[in-house]
């Protein structure tokens, strides 16, 4: 079967233990206002135009005969600076696995492995599971919002050696306000993860005045108890890619508040 990938990043530093390669799967059921990968939201391939360096030469708008350009109304095969691209590549599971296996020697030398991220990788869970089935000797990690059907969550995380799961907002209504969905299923899935025996970490993105409030952090602490937690400082570049996919970023570029780590039993802060 096939899946849609929007990026494969070599040597990603914050996606799990050791030297890693991260596969970003396209499509996400959440709409977090602070999402820094807006090109990962839609499941379908889409046009991505890096406008900052564009000189408006007009070549891409002249019209062309390439089949692959037709859906986008722009020519993707002519920009002198390669600023007009299609975001989203379809892979056969086996082909993607082979691509990952090319890095096997690095994984071994760097105590690393592959990380599936997104988007929300669980949205393409069948594909992810099939890719994993070809990666027996590779350390596999997943970054997930935890927002998936319970059976899907259970059967997928079993394929992994390490799970990085977000708990962004404790309050049910606020979760819906800022991410577009309720957190009920996420909290259920967390309970399963906690008892699964699979090594994991809970990640909390610190978004100014939304998730970094004392109230929210206390709420999350209550949910996670002694589970390991990583608080992720707000990425002030989060809005950088919105323009290239024709969207607008609605949050500020301010820094998050310095969190009080003592709220948690077992937390670290990543800058």
């Amino acid at each position: 079967m096939t899946g849609t990938v929007f990026d494969i990043k070599e040597f990603s530093l914050h996606d799990g233990p050791g030297g890693r390669v991260t596969v970003f799967l396209k499509g996400c059921p959440l709409r977090c206002k602070w999402c820094h990968n807006p090109e990962g939201l839609k499941k379908e391939s889409q046009l991505l135009v890096k406008t900052a360096q564009c000189t408006n030469c007009g070549l891409c708008k002249k019209g062309c005969h390439h089949l692959e350009c037709q859906p986008f109304g722009r020519c993707i095969k002519v920009c002198p600076k390669n600023l007009v691209r299609i975001c989203g590549t379809e892979y056969e599971a086996k082909d993607l696995a082979n691509k990952i296996l090319e890095y096997s020697d690095f994984f071994e030398l760097n105590n690393g492995g592959v990380t599936f991220s997104g988007g929300e990788p669980l949205l393409q869970h069948e594909f992810v599971k099939e890719v994993c089935s070809h990666l027996e000797n590779v350390h596999k990690a997943i970054q997930t919002s935890g927002y998936a059907d319970e059976e899907v969550f259970k059967s997928t995380i079993k394929c992994f050696d390490y799970v990085m799961m977000d708990i962004k907002i404790a309050d049910r209504e606020k979760h819906r306000e800022f991410t577009g969905v309720y957190n009920d299923v996420i909290l259920k899935n967390f309970q399963f993860l906690k008892n699964s025996g699979i090594p994991y970490i809970i990640r909390v993105p610190l978004i100014p005045d939304i998730t970094d409030t004392e109230e929210n952090l206390k709420g999350i602490s209550k949910i996670v108890g002694t589970s390991p937690v990583e608080l992720l400082s707000y990425n002030q570049m989060a809005g950088a890619k919105y323009e290239s996919v024709g969207m607008q970023y609605s949050l500020t570029n301010d820094k998050n508040k310095e969190p009080d780590l003592s709220i948690f039993k077992n937390a670290i802060l990543s800058k």
């Binding site: 040597f11 095969k77 002519v78 002198p80 020697d105 690095f106 030398l109 760097n110």
Partner: protein, 661 residues
């Protein structure tokens, strides 16, 4: 470190002591003096013109007060010499790694016993200056400095501080004699016994030893603005740390660690830190290295013992000499003490040989193999020209340098007299050949005429073709065998073309992967190239991907660039990787970078230059140089203060960053 000394040097306050030396050449010409007589006389005169000065809180003294080194020959005489001989660069000795170890251990007076007349006069001249420094020290109430100068460099050093001071004086003397790119060699190897003995006596803690090493490092920055190469900063004060000795034992020691720390603390461009590593090097060493990389100086540059030593042995170096290898000014591998290689004497322009073959033979080649044969002939022809020009090499004889090299005729050659030839633009050459192979001969989707026309018109009427060749064609750096194999073939062909040739000093030729400044110069020798590189666009620096190539990431780059058979192309020239400085923000990331370097070594890469940079900072520095006086960037084999560079070099550094991984 002494903050007062650092500030004093940064504010260039010691420049006020500087005077101009008069010209001597006309007088020498009139008197009809021999070259060696001129060199000796000039050194004596310059030593006597020097005035002793001590900088605030300085423990290691000697500061240059003579701004210029007047030439030994008039312009007419140089013209005559150039008619008669091949003159390399400035004509004076450079890029050697002298025997500091022996001088520090035995002292100059011991050397004097076996010295010739000119060497004796040179030794006396520098010792005369040392004596005046000593008297001044006594006069200014600096008995500790006076005591050290009483001993060194006349006699062998008996302590760490004496050893450092002895080095400083002889290194100073080498520059004053008019030699340049005077490298530092394996400082941690020859200097450590003194530190170790002093520490055993309880004279230093790690902390106080570090402070002294920092003060010592400051001494490399007092006069370095007077050592100008192609650009300010290109001065060749390269220092080599770590690696194995001739018995295979690891050299890396406490002093190696202190040197890495001192460089990180000082954030100055001298000395230039190199680190030798091998498959047994522990992760902790790479972590120390990565912490220095994080500081943004472009240090350390790594060399892989496992590849370099075997490569040098294969070229005919004795193993025990090969085990001692260091780098010349930039990255050329040379042997200290006994080597007299000229490691940067010429350069092959890979894209140009491809361009020659393209214009002369593409239309008549029926297969890619036919065409590749023509490229091979062009490489041979180019090597014929390069080597053919290198006849009757002559250097101005330097008596003091010869004292330091255990050889009174170093200018006529040493134990090793090999010539190094750089190879510029390997990636551009390989990418261009890949386009020809794939599209012209295999897929036949581009006609020969179409390609030639596009290249000759700088792709002006072929935007779609430009896009295809520039961004869709396979590029070296993405771990694609199709193109990487061509790069391997290019380097093999280059080294084969040099094989068997004898140079004019009885040595051989060594093929290399460096570019030096040729990445700019050579790029202007051709127009656009088949890989979609436009006219006037530079090549990548040294051994790196083409600068516009869409690269997957550092892992693919490392894989691509560790494929060549480096044992056949071991003149030196590093793979250059540039990381955004935000990648080094936490300890975990520094450790991951360290592991990445370790992987590079284990995969068989030969040399690695790793830079931490921030394009936004560079842009701001170009606009507001006054705010960034100390901002350091790596150029091709050396680091420089960004604001002191010509705009051309600043722009290239910035262009590289746009494609930062």
């Amino acid at each position: 470190m002494s903050k007062a000394l650092l500030d004093y040097i940064l504010k260039k306050e010691h420049h006020k002591f500087r005077i101009n030396a008069p010209e001597f050449a006309e007088e020498y010409k009139e008197k009809g003096l021999s070259p060696i007589e001129r060199m000796t006389d000039r050194f004596e005169k310059l030593c006597s013109l020097e005035t002793p000065h001590f900088l605030p809180e300085e423990k290691i003294c000697f500061v240059r007060t003579i701004k210029n080194i007047p030439d030994c020959f008039t312009e007419d005489e140089w013209a005559e010499l150039k008619d008669k001989y091949f003159i390399h660069e400035l004509g004076y000795l450079s890029n050697l790694s002298p025997d500091y170890e022996d001088i520090i251990k035995c002292g100059l007076l011991a050397k004097r016993e076996t010295a010739n007349e000119y060497q004796k006069r040179s030794i006396d001249a520098i010792l005369g200056l040392v004596n005046r420094y000593k008297e001044e020290a006594i006069k200014e109430g600096k008995p500790e400095i006076a005591r050290v100068l009483e001993r060194v460099p006349a006699y062998g050093a008996t302590s760490f501080i004496e050893a450092l001071q002895s080095f400083r004086i002889v290194h100073f003397a080498l520059w004053l004699e008019g030699n340049y790119h005077n490298t530092v060699g394996r400082l941690d190897k020859y200097m450590y016994p003194y530190l170790k003995a002093d520490m055993e006596k309880g004279l230093y803690t790690e902390e106080t030893a570090l402070a002294l090493v920092e003060d010592f490092f400051l001494s490399f920055n007092k006069d370095s603005d007077l050592y100008v190469g192609v650009q300010q900063g290109d001065n060749g004060q390269s220092l080599m740390l770590g690696g194995i000795d001739k018995d295979g034992n690891e050299v890396f020691n406490l002093l190696s660690k202190l040197c890495l720390q001192a460089s990180k603390n000082l954030l100055l461009i001298d000395p230039k830190i190199n680190l030798r590593v091998n498959k047994n090097t522990p992760v902790e060493t790479y972590v120390l290295g990565s912490e220095l990389t994080k500081a943004g100086l472009g240090f350390p540059q790594y060399s892989n013992d496992d590849v370099v030593i075997d490569g040098l042995v294969k070229l005919g170096y004795d193993r025990e000499d090969a085990c001692e290898y260091v780098t010349a000014a930039c990255w050329e591998f040379i042997v200290p003490k006994v080597g007299a290689d000229v490691a940067n004497i010429g350069a092959l322009n890979f894209p140009k040989v491809v361009d020659n073959a393209l214009h002369k033979h593409l239309l008549t080649s029926e297969t890619y193999d036919d065409f590749a044969k023509e490229v091979k002939k062009e490489i041979n022809a180019e090597c014929d020209i390069i080597c053919g020009n290198l006849k009757d090499l002559w250097f101005v004889p330097s008596p003091f340098m010869s004292v330091m090299c255990n050889n009174d005729t170093i200018w006529n050659g040493g134990k090793y007299n090999n010539f190094g030839i750089h190879g510029t633009g390997v990636a551009t050459g390989a990418d261009s050949l890949a386009v020809i192979k794939k599209y012209v001969f295999e897929e036949k989707s581009i006609s020969k005429e179409e390609l030639l026309d596009a290249v000759d018109t700088n792709f002006e009427n072929a935007p779609e073709l430009l896009h295809k060749l520039r961004y869709e064609a396979p590029k070296m750096g993405n771990n694609i065998d199709f193109v990487d194999d061509i790069a391997v073939w290019l380097l093999d062909t280059f080294s084969d073309a040099l094989k068997g040739r004898k140079n004019c000093r009885g040595g051989i030729y060594r093929a290399g992967t460096g570019s030096a400044m040729f990445y700019l110069w050579h790029a202007n020798e051709i127009g656009a190239s088949p890989d979609g590189r436009l006219k006037k666009e530079p090549f990548g620096t040294n051994f790196s991907a083409s600068i516009f190539a869409d690269i997957k990431g550092p892992l693919s780059v490392i894989k691509s660039f560790s494929k060549p058979h480096f044992e056949n192309a071991i003149n030196g020239g590093p793979l250059t990787l540039e990381f955004h400085n935000s990648m080094f923000k936490d300890e975990d990331s520094v450790e991951k970078v360290a592991m990445l370097v370790k992987s590079f070594v284990e995969l068989g890469g030969h040399q690695l230059q790793l830079n931490a940079v921030n394009l936004e900072t560079l842009k701001d520095a170009q606009a507001h140089p006054e705010k960034y006086q100390q901002l350091v960037v790596r150029i091709w084999g050396w680091s420089a203060y960004f604001v002191e560079l010509d705009k051309e070099y600043q722009d290239h550094v910035m262009l590289r960053q746009e494609y930062t991984l």
